[in-house]
Subunit: 313 residues, 2 copies
């Protein structure tokens, strides 16, 4: 609401002097910091730990053009994380939080919601899907695609190695496998094994699947760790080079498309992590820039993963 000429004159002065608005002063006046907080996992469990890192990269990339910045924090458990929210909120006026690794009975979301703090979760709120904006990857679609890929290759007895029931993510991934089998008129009963995550655990579970009455000819796994173990147990493990013919007698598909999968030639399901991060930031920006408007697409975004076929399936 100012004459264009004046506007230009001011802009020139800004450029000439190299003026930059001071965030601290602005923040004190407006109460907004243009800071978004995200958690970085304390330690790495090697094979699987890198997923959240890649998501974080995406977040930082997406934040920059929107002129937001990402502030890191760590927390050992949900209680500590909530304490950290409290701290960051009162000390830094964090504009919003990005939560990861949602799970059943997640106390973090309700804490934030009660206080009216904007946030998005990367991961569905497994207990109450409509309660807040979230972005997630459709694990069931991924395992279903993997299973159909194996069906097309002629497999009928397709096993599944997953995590104990109740984990949200794990149950979701299992359901895709089960659905694809049902689609093909196959009874999946007795074709699956449950175990904690890990390479050795995957190997043990695979050996179990192979020594049952009718052994499986292919296995879909909940993670690349499990798949790597399965690969070894089925004798299908081998080097890394692209172009090498498929070796194993049992097809194996992992989940997450980690560097290890690439290195070993393991067929795996890749999550669109960068895309997920972009959506998270978009939802947040919508919330922050227009406080009382519905987020676009209702704020619930489910992304499809992609099968990356390699030597093992």
């Amino acid at each position: 609401m100012v004459r264009p000429e004046t506007r230009q004159r001011v802009q020139d002065a800004i450029d000439a002097l190299g003026y930059r608005a001071n965030q601290a002063a602005r923040q004190m006046r407006t109460g907004r910091s243009r800071l978004i907080a995200a958690r970085i996992e304390p330690a790495q469990d090697g094979i699987n730990g890198s997923i959240l890192d890649r998501f974080l990269h995406g977040l930082a990339d997406a934040a920059a053009p929107a002129r937001y910045r990402v502030l890191l924090y760590t927390a050992a458990d949900d209680a500590a994380e909530i304490a950290t929210y409290d701290d960051m909120l009162s000390a830094y006026d964090i504009d919003a939080f990005v939560l990861t690794s949602t799970h059943h009975a997640d106390t973090r979301t309700s804490w934030l919601a009660e206080r009216g703090v904007p946030f998005v979760t990367f991961g569905r709120p497994w207990d109450a899907l409509g309660s807040h904006p979230w972005v997630d990857v459709d694990g069931a679609a991924g395992t279903a695609e993997a299973t159909r890929h194996l069906l097309r290759a002629g497999h009928r007895r397709i096993g599944f190695i997953g995590w104990p029931a109740g984990s949200g993510v794990g149950d979701d991934r299992r359901s895709g496998w089960a659905a694809a089998l049902a689609e093909a008129g196959i009874d999946g009963h007795g074709l699956d094994a449950v175990t904690a995550d890990g390479v050795a655990e995957g190997a043990a579970a695979a050996r179990d699947l192979l020594t049952r009455g009718e052994p499986v000819t292919a296995i879909v796994c909940c993670s690349d760790s499990l798949a790597l173990g399965a690969l070894h147990a089925t004798g299908g493990a081998e080097p890394a080079m692209p172009g090498t013919p498929a070796p194993g007698r049992v097809a194996v598909i992992g989940f997450d498309d980690t560097p290890v999968a690439q290195a070993v030639g393991l067929t795996s399901i890749a999550q669109p992590l960068g895309e997920a991060a972009t959506h998270c930031l978009r939802l947040l920006a919508a919330q922050l820039d227009a406080p009382d408007s519905r987020p676009p697409g209702d704020g619930q975004i489910l992304l499809a993963p992609a099968l990356v076929p390699r030597r093992t399936a």
Copy 2:
């Protein structure tokens, strides 16, 4: 400088009201933000990309107890990174920067030094070692240890696959191998190959080393990517399981101890990244909390990596 009784009364009030000092106001008054900026790499190159992530984890962990927080930024190149410094400095009053991936003719350090901005580098300033506080891992010590490990196992013709000269890190790692060979009275001439980083590149280089007049019986590599390639080229690549006997006819040792090395059973050299991060933060805190004191240990810290023996050597 106040009666203990009064002090207590104030403390009680603080607790009762849940009062927290507002950083924005404090920052405006004092000019310090308790924010430390660190760069997160834009994209991942899979096998090797995770090193800086692990460092970042360490940094976030170390920052928390010192009541600093880590602010992320991304930048495509040095020029963009400097522009980002400028921006963050004037808008957020960043207290200090942690730079990674130092290289020859690094313009970032001089820019910051000229402006009196506190910073540490993770990575030596290859051109002028005494110029500012830094923390680094002694790559030469790592490759020397790896080479000695192979010598002890009876190897004499120990090859090296490294990167083109001029990269600081690469030259350093090569020098350790050369020194260990010289120590044992072996001439390393003709036992090394130079190539860009990558699995395929490593395989090609290894094939080269194996088809020379007197082929090598062991290879030390500049990275796990190269080592993985070498492993395949020498026929030594195989699954992942611990406890499997060593298979290859040529011993191979990688660098960085990435998840891929763990998965494949590749012997590798591990950098103490958490320790490095802790030191970085300590140096920074010393600089920030006592502006004109020499940093402890002169502010130049060289950490020793550790060989992690696995099946391939």
